[in-house]
């Protein structure tokens, strides 16, 4: 559970930045080399590499080096953590709605 919460922390941290969200969107269209990715973003390579590392630490992307080229791939499964968290919230809201409906129904029954 503690590991799950820490993973979710890192995923949300990764998603707080517009550049990192744009990288995720870009990798959704297919894998790309760090060089090609970096050329699409108006910042110095060291700054861009920091974003890549944050994404990699969150598990949202994977990188693999072949020769001199490092290729980035999206790890969709990790984004499912966010889906799961949202689904949990919706379940809680639904339970509340169900309780409110039950209360209203029972109150109506008690009316003369």
């Amino acid at each position: 559970m503690a590991q799950y919460l820490a993973q979710l922390d890192r995923v949300f941290v990764a998603l707080t930045d517009q550049t990192r969200r744009a990288v995720i969107r870009r990798l959704g269209r297919g894998p790309a080399s760090v060089g090609d990715l970096a050329s699409e973003f108006p910042m110095a390579l060291p700054s861009f590499m920091k974003h890549v590392r944050t994404l990699e630490e969150s598990g949202l992307i994977r990188t693999a080096k072949s020769g001199r080229v490092r290729t980035c791939t999206l790890n969709r499964e990790r984004l499912a953590l966010v889906d799961d968290w949202l689904a949990e919230q919706r379940r809680i809201w639904q339970e509340r709605t169900d309780r409110l409906e039950q209360f209203v129904t029972e109150t109506a029954k008690d009316q003369p």
Copy 2:
């Protein structure tokens, strides 16, 4: 668009913290006063109030004061920003899958 991106930034920042996510979960069961909420979390009130303010700035919760009691309410619509962002990613993945399928189909047609 810039405003939407800034809102999304603030929502993801609010979600990076386990205490703030727990407050969202708690408020999913119904509104609560800051005092009642704070008593459920093992931290000093000033620290807790910082989390409440971050949540309020993100738009994920609303607070209203009546007499000496400040009540917090969840703003579900703001959480829909995250749903929308995830849906956009899924659309991009689907387009990629469609393109790959089209490529495979056309390649198969060209075979003798």
